[in-house]
């Protein structure tokens, strides 16, 4: 059977509450000055936690077949490749041109 039966409304309610709390947390933390680096890391970590909750429970990924995980993972993996490779270029351009000179 598909996944939908495996999750109760109570679980959905708990996930919903967690998502609201994380929204409050990310908004609150944004007002603390932790240095722009840590502010960004914390904001993205909380966003990833929220997205994971939505994926696992609302989208039933936790109870889905391995093949579904492969597709979801492929989307994520492709995105990470694009960000990593592009930023490794953008963020090091000045260093590299400096070396060539």
């Amino acid at each position: 059977m598909t996944s939908a039966h495996a999750i109760t409304l109570k679980t959905y309610g708990a996930v919903f509450t967690a998502l609201l709390l994380l929204t409050a947390l990310t908004t609150g933390v944004a007002f603390l000055d932790l240095g722009s680096y840590f502010n960004t890391v914390i904001a993205l970590t909380i966003a990833c936690a929220k997205a994971t909750l939505v994926l696992l429970y609302f989208m039933h990924l936790r109870y889905s077949r391995p093949l579904t995980w492969v597709i979801a993972g492929a989307g994520l993996f492709w995105f990470l490749i694009m960000i990593t490779f592009t930023m490794s270029d953008v963020l090091t351009r000045e260093t590299v041109t400096g070396l060539i000179r």
Partner: protein, 215 residues
């Protein structure tokens, strides 16, 4: 009527395999959606790495309250969508219809607030173009930030409008008793789509609204 939907198409072994295939197809579509939005997130990342201070200053000009309210509304609509799938799977037609209707209402509330926010941006001259105005020294880079703001929230809003059409179709069919515990695949697939749109917003909210709040 609805029982005839239990019969699977000839290329599938059984109804369960047919349902799994449909769900997998939806996940593949969502993976392409990651690529679609991914390009904009990448562009945002590049320009933010180049103009970090200007992005933070520009972000502070966005009113936080409507953003927080909208995030809450969208999470709530994801909950009502999840409960729609839940009730559909148990064959509870009435609860399914109510959940779908709530999801539509919440989605409309989100877009209404978004409209108010856009209107605010026009009044404050924060819409990229000839009238754009932002104090020096960040005026040029702030315009880039707001270009991303409108492109990303705009494409997100387009996805929600498409979601309305899908939800309306589900509600229409649910009222005619098209779904049962044995067949509710469309409800499940639209649910996946709606939750994906929610995830996009989960990332847009901190990246657009919360950048420079501590400054």
């Amino acid at each position: 009527m609805s029982d005839s939907r239990l019969v699977h198409a000839h290329q599938f072994d059984d109804a369960e395999q047919q349902r799994d295939a449909a769900s997998l197809g939806m996940w593949i579509f969502l993976a392409t959606e990651v690529m679609f939005f991914g390009g904009m997130f990448l562009g945002y990342t590049i320009y933010r790495s180049m103009y970090a201070e200007a992005f933070a200053a520009a972000s502070n000009r966005i009113d936080l309250i409507p953003g927080v309210i909208n995030t809450t509304i969208l999470i709530l609509s994801s909950f009502t969508m999840a409960s729609a799938v839940y009730h559909a799977a148990l064959g509870r037609g009435r609860a399914l219809q109510i959940s779908l209707l709530l999801t539509i209402v919440l989605g409309a509330a989100f877009l209404g607030i978004k409209l108010y926010e856009y209107h605010e941006k026009f009044e404050e001259l924060l819409v990229p173009g000839a009238l754009f105005s932002f104090p020096a020294p960040f005026s040029a880079a702030a315009e880039i930030f707001f270009s991303f703001y409108f492109a990303m929230t705009g494409m997100h809003a387009v996805h929600m409008i498409i979601g309305f059409g899908l939800l309306a179709k589900l509600l229409f069919d649910a009222r005619r008793g098209r779904y049962s515990a044995g067949y509710y695949t469309p409800v499940e697939l639209v649910g996946l789509y709606w939750h994906f749109v929610d995830i996009v917003w989960i990332f847009l909210f901190p990246l657009l609204y919360l950048l420079g709040r501590h400054l």
